[in-house]
């Protein structure tokens, strides 16, 4: 652009702005008046808006507007609408048993969707976003269940929790702290830990007496974990023969477990969530394990 003296255009009778691009001069055409009105209209609109809707920040609060609109209330309204729309299915979910839900595709679809959302809100912090668990928190996808993986068993676990102090019917059992209580000596713990590793097909440490470990296991552990180490879902004792370890299969992890015992807890969700949500969670968690 070059600066050119302001001139009057012969064809239109309009003055130019003095800007010139490659011989083309820009006319200084005035804005149409209605455009100006539109501009005033937008200002008027904003004043009306301030009056009706939340607008100006104040110290520690804001001007709420006479309509009383808030985004939070709008969301609540929409949630209520969505709930009302699903009323029929929700009622059906309420009265159906878990096995009935699993057999009815429509109910199952809804329960899986609701369960997935509820799992993300309530369970994921410990069990992971996809139920994959983490050290100390059971993996729900591996088909190994401490308290049983059938629908009803999962449902009971969710409602009453595990070793939940506020639920009389909670699932409970206590593994003794063999080392801390002085039941077993440290070398005995090491021997039994190595033996336990062999149950799952893991390599024991070199030079450790597996036969001694087996004897210690038979004397102290079979009452709960069984002769073959396969555990017992009646008392939540772990199956020691699988590839899945809640607290780790490393020798030091095992020694720690036997010495101190773990006896971890899970809240009783029956006090916190409504029955339909709990049913949905049971259906969803059951599906995570592949339904077995």
């Amino acid at each position: 652009m070059t600066i050119d003296p302001v001139q009057v255009d012969k064809v239109s009778g309009q003055t130019t702005t003095g800007h010139e691009w490659d011989g083309i001069r820009e006319l200084n055409t005035p804005l149409p008046r209605w455009w100006l009105w539109l501009f005033y209209l937008t200002i008027a609109f904003s004043v009306v808006y301030w009056f009706l809707f939340p607008a100006w920040p104040l110290f520690g609060s804001y001007t709420g507007g006479v309509l009383g609109w808030s985004s939070r209330a709008a969301v609540a309204d929409q949630v209520a609408l969505a709930k009302a729309a699903r009323m029929q299915e929700a009622t059906a979910l309420e009265s159906a048993s878990l096995s009935e839900i699993a057999a009815a595709p429509k109910l199952q679809e809804l329960a899986l969707a609701q369960g997935k959302a509820a799992f993300g809100d309530n369970c994921a912090p410990c069990h992971g976003s996809g139920g994959q668990g983490q050290k100390g928190y059971p993996n729900l996808t591996a088909g190994r269940w401490l308290w049983g993986g059938a629908l009803e068993q999962i449902g009971t676990t969710i409602i009453h929790g595990i070793r939940a102090p506020d639920d009389a019917d909670t699932r409970t059992s206590a593994m003794p702290a063999f080392g801390k209580d002085g039941t077993l000596k440290p070398e005995e713990i090491r021997e039994v830990a190595d033996y336990v590793r062999t149950l799952a097909g893991l390599e024991p440490e070199h030079g450790v007496d597996i036969a001694a470990g087996k004897k210690i296991f038979a004397d102290n552990c079979v009452a709960c974990h069984g002769e073959d180490g396969k555990g017992n879902i009646e008392m939540g004792s772990a199956n020691l023969t699988t590839k899945v370890w809640q607290y780790g299969s490393d020798i030091n992890d095992l020694i720690y477990t036997i010495t101190n015992a773990r006896n971890s807890t899970m809240p009783a969700w029956g006090h916190r969530l409504d029955p339909v949500t709990i049913k949905s969670l049971a259906i969803y968690v059951h599906s995570l394990g592949g339904g077995t």
Binding site: Q7, V8, K10, R25, L31, R33, E109, S129, G291
Partner: protein
Amino acid sequence: VSASAGGSASAPIAAEEIYDEGPLYAAAKKVYPQKVWGTYRRLKWAVLWFALGVYYILPFVRWDRGPNQPNQAVLIDMEHSRFYAFFIELWPQEVYYFTGLLILAALILFLSNALFGRVWCGYACPQTVWTDLFLWVERAIEGDRRERIKFDDAPWSPDKLVKRLAKHAAWLVIAMLTGGAFVLYFMDAPTLLVQFATFQAPLIAYLWAGILTLTTYSLAGHMREQVCLYMCPWPRIQAALTDPDALEVTYRTDRGEPRMSVKEAARKRAQGSPAGDCIDCFQCVHACPTGVDIRKGLQLGCINCGLCIDACDAVMTKIQRPLRLIAFDTDDNIVRRKRGEPAVYHLIRPRTILYLAAIALTGCIMLYAFVTRTNMHLSVLHVRAPLFTVTAQGGVRNGYTLRFSNKLSKPSDFALTVSGLKGAMMTSVVAKPLSDGRLTARVDADATFEVPVYVSTPPGASPGKSTPITFTATDVKTGEASGVVDNFFGPITSSE
């Protein structure tokens, strides 16, 4: 608004003088288009009635799609996210067909522009159609150009009040019918019409009808040519797309200049001096719906409607001179005729051939995509958390979320197989296993169904870090199949 050619400016003026005195804004000059008769006016009426006819009648055209399906030929069903156009049903994931349509529309606009300039603006643009309709109402109530100018200047009287009220009432009725017809495309038209009349229609229908009423009333009644001059981007784009061979409404200066009265022209011709056919009667200017003087040449305000051609032809008939002093022509031909050469018309030229080829290509691609479109679809999403699970039994398991789409109007049974992984087994809590190891799921009519599926290797197998596998869903009845390739992940083994 417009630019002047470099040569047409007069003596310099001091900048300060201009900026001190120049107005920031100016009132729009009201345009009073005069009634005309002729070829182009007839064409404009024909396009107008056709366009309005399609707009108002289309929502009521029925199309049988079977039970529990809407029977409206053209319907945009927002609630169920479906678009219906006669035998076509589009799902939200198929909006790329609209992209194709938009590209096609743009190319056709380019082609029409290369052939006949802004005929879209002059004949088919909704702004032109409704403005023309509103003008017709205005003319019927307040009279033609001359009466309207007088009427506007006249002081208020009972007669003026009645006529004004009648005009605005008629405009509002047309505007309401416009907005009302628009919402009919989004719901079952006959049902909505009854609901609308009995105040049972959804609030959103009234809201949109109201918005469209307001825009139609203000844009066609009050804004008119201001929309074309100030709001519409197309004149600017058009200026970049035009070329000297496009047929534009052109005042043939070679015939028209020098302008003079009929008598003087007759005298000059008798003397053998040059005399133009233009008698400076301003009929072309008065007929123009955007208020331009076409004799100044091609300009931004001209929408190529050709009403000035009709106006001028009427005058030429009266003064017994040849028609088409103003005509669809090119500036090149003016120069040619001045040189005594015949006029040439290049309707078929590289630019138009290129546009035609692009239109044909886009059309073919769309047609191919449409013809090969299937009535079923499978999409696969690998579960990411966990990427894979080593199960208690020692196998490796991957989770997938499959979604079956059934675009048919009756339920379909899909059979699912997986291939590419040795010994792979599929399980699902939703899909039921068949005796041959396939899984099967029933998908409702015109619906999708989400199916979580697990693929596992037998205990002891080491599937490797990543193996491509293929899911194939087959519609049991039609045999239509859709295959999707995804990956099966496993733990990284020491050999990798």
